[in-house]
Assembly symmetry: C2
Homo-oligomer: 234 residues x 2
């Protein structure tokens, strides 16, 4: 019933426009009573995005089970659940993307949904960073960066009309965030001020080493660029 | 007239609640006709946030004049314009923050406003990163991180009831983003793959140097932590 209503609603939105379609039109098309609609959807907007509640629940469940992983990797993987929901139905997702661009009310609704995902990711990170310096701040900044990267990749795919590989665009975008914020137990996204195992100890075990000479007052980006260049990642 | 209407509206929202206050109530309190309200504000929500349009215009103007600066520093400074708007009227800002927490429609409106700021910052960064690898992606991720950091600092101040130093909280939060993404012409936020001036050249000029030994396969966060530790920033 829920799917029948969502499908009837979406077909009417495409045929007549979102604003021009009433709930009465939708229930008539679906062949059910008016109260049935509101049993499943609080508003017309909700019928356009019928799967976000389930996806948010999946994300929460995923993160609840992800406690032992790198926090930034965990939220990146959690964000991929959203991509998979879109990728499961490319034609619908692309049509909805185009519809949403045209209807301000749907864009606003979508912002609220995106914010709920972001809060879910931030809540997980906040718990993981609890008791560390700036834990809450880092949680919010990283969650926002993950969501922005995910949505950049998702939009790239949607704009391609669903033609390209959806995973590739999102993996690439999330890779940028993990490169900057990613961590094992530490890193920029991890526990600041906690001493890591000295790199030189690893070097002894792994053999191959690089040597970097830097002035004490050098800005961090400059040092990092030198390292990336030396590591062949630049 | 605009200010009189906004003040009358806000006083009524505090006294009676946002939903319970009509536009007729507002114009009666302000002593003007109904059409005057809609001349200044498209909706009741707009009257709660009367200064964002001006602030967005100020932000755009600021960024238009900021072309020669470090892009990440420029968007951080642009974000501070929002803080200053809030800090110019602490009592109003704190009351509005509390009101917004209670009214879902205002939270949604606020999300739209935040999104407009984010798009303004991202647009500036996109132009600055034009033609560089992943320029659009980095622009969106950094804009989201700046907005999240700014809002974290702003909320810290609002939750303190406007008691603490507003600049301090936001400066600290934006500092985290600049530390990670900040750049001169290069850096993680700058032009990736463009060789920086070798750090060792600076070292010769500035005298004081550190030496880091790292395995070629070491993850970047581990190397960075070692450097931060050596530079006394860890």
């Amino acid at each position: 019933m829920r799917e029948v209503l969502a499908e009837a609603a979406f077909q009417l939105f495409l045929e007549r426009g979102f604003e021009q379609t009433t709930v009465d039109d939708i229930v008539a098309r679906a062949g059910v009573g008016r109260r049935s609609f509101f049993r499943y959807f609080p508003s017309k907007e909700d019928a356009v995005f019928p799967d976000h509640d389930r996806c948010l629940a999946d994300m929460t469940a995923y993160l609840d089970a992800a406690e032992d992983e790198d926090p930034v990797a965990a939220v990146c993987d959690a964000a991929r659940l959203v991509l998979r929901m879109y990728a499961a139905n490319p034609e619908f997702s692309v049509q909805r993307y185009r519809l949403t661009r045209e209807v301000p009310g749907l864009r606003t609704y979508e912002l609220s949904v995106v914010r709920r995902y972001e809060r879910t990711l931030a809540g997980y990170l906040r718990a993981r960073y609890a008791g560390t310096p700036d834990g809450g701040l880092r949680a919010e900044v990283i969650a926002a960066a993950v969501v922005a990267a995910h949505n950049n990749g998702l939009r790239t795919w949607l704009r391609s009309g669903g033609a390209d590989d959806p995973e590739a665009a999102v993996d690439h975008a999330l890779g940028l965030v993990r490169e900057v914020w990613g961590s094992g137990a530490g890193g920029a996204g991890g526990v600041r001020g906690q001493a890591p195992a000295p790199v030189s100890e690893q070097a002894a075990a792994e053999g191959e080493v690089i040597v970097i000479v830097a002035p004490k007052g050098a800005p961090m980006w400059r040092v990092v660029q030198s390292i990336e260049s030396a590591l062949g990642e630049g």
